[in-house]
Symmetry: C2
Amino acid sequence: MKKFDAKDTAVLESILLHRRDVRGNHFLPQRLPQEVVDQILFAAVNAPSVGFSQPWEFVLIDDTEIKKAVKATFEIENENAKQQFDEKQDLYTQLKLEGIMEAPLNVAVFYNEKKQPVLGQTSMYQMGEYSVICAIQNMWLMARSLNVGLGWVSIIDPEKITSILNVPSNRKLIGYLCLGYVDVFHDRPELELLKWEKRKKMSEVIFTNGYTKR
Amino acid sequence: MKKFDAKDTAVLESILLHRRDVRGNHFLPQRLPQEVVDQILFAAVNAPSVGFSQPWEFVLIDDTEIKKAVKATFEIENENAKQQFDEKQDLYTQLKLEGIMEAPLNVAVFYNEKKQPVLGQTSMYQMGEYSVICAIQNMWLMARSLNVGLGWVSIIDPEKITSILNVPSNRKLIGYLCLGYVDVFHDRPELELLKWEKRKKMSEVIFTNGYTKR
């Protein structure tokens, strides 16, 4: 049975802490080697999945016309989003929130819903989608260990992506990712550095034996 | 800027590949040291979150009466679930699908919905919940690197958990986790070993530039 030691834990912790969400202002144009892409996808398919259903699908995108179409849905959604951040609107407008064109590789990640019942998914149906998220988080960490940046673009219209990529009707878009080498990984999340949000204290989010006692 | 090397990648890959979903038949009763619990929670709060919203909350549970109440909801849900697996029902009945009582620590993980709009969550609302899943996957990997088993119990009624733990009304249960040291980590997922599901080939789930071309 494999036993890990304190040095292994330290490596994992360092990767977790240095993982960043990377936007277009930091991607370099060089293509990712195929073996690097394969390692990232191998991490994905070894994520946990409810009932070992492995309900994930990955569409690799390097076609400029497709990227342009995706970028167009970002522009519309982002214009709508901006209106919602009253006093923070100026800061919002200055933020670079995607790297669709700049990143050499985009990956659209889908949930492939099974027709038959899935073990473990009978009471909490979202477990299928949650498995896909675990795969994305594995990709994110593996990418970081390979010094590859990953940015998750969520300001898009999933229905438009579905049409752009000829997605079969029982698939659901879970995440749209941009990947590539970077000029820099920030030491802290960009939104923390820019004081968009403060880091919460651990004591704020941890409770014991229910919400009445801390 | 932190650069990782091939040895770091190998450590991460090994942790990813040796991570298992652990059930009650493998947990040891000894309490987890506080510093081990702290390391796992530290990994959680360093997960990515949409708009740096950190929308997660963790309820640590070691109280036997609370565990018993949670176990009771599992029993009801599992009885209902069993009926759905026609020809696989015998195998389903033999499976141990949780470790609520056996694991020394249970952790209920909640999504704390923000009242104000969240950057990045304006078009895909589920991004808040997805951030919580990233935190759980970080916990799972950190636990494995510390040779701690983690099992995710999803055959429960979230509404009953909410009432058992006095959860405020705007929280949503995302995951219910069991943690503890184990007698063994299987080399492969238990449901693969038992031939409940087959492992998919990577070529089955990877597409290029849309679903029509592979």
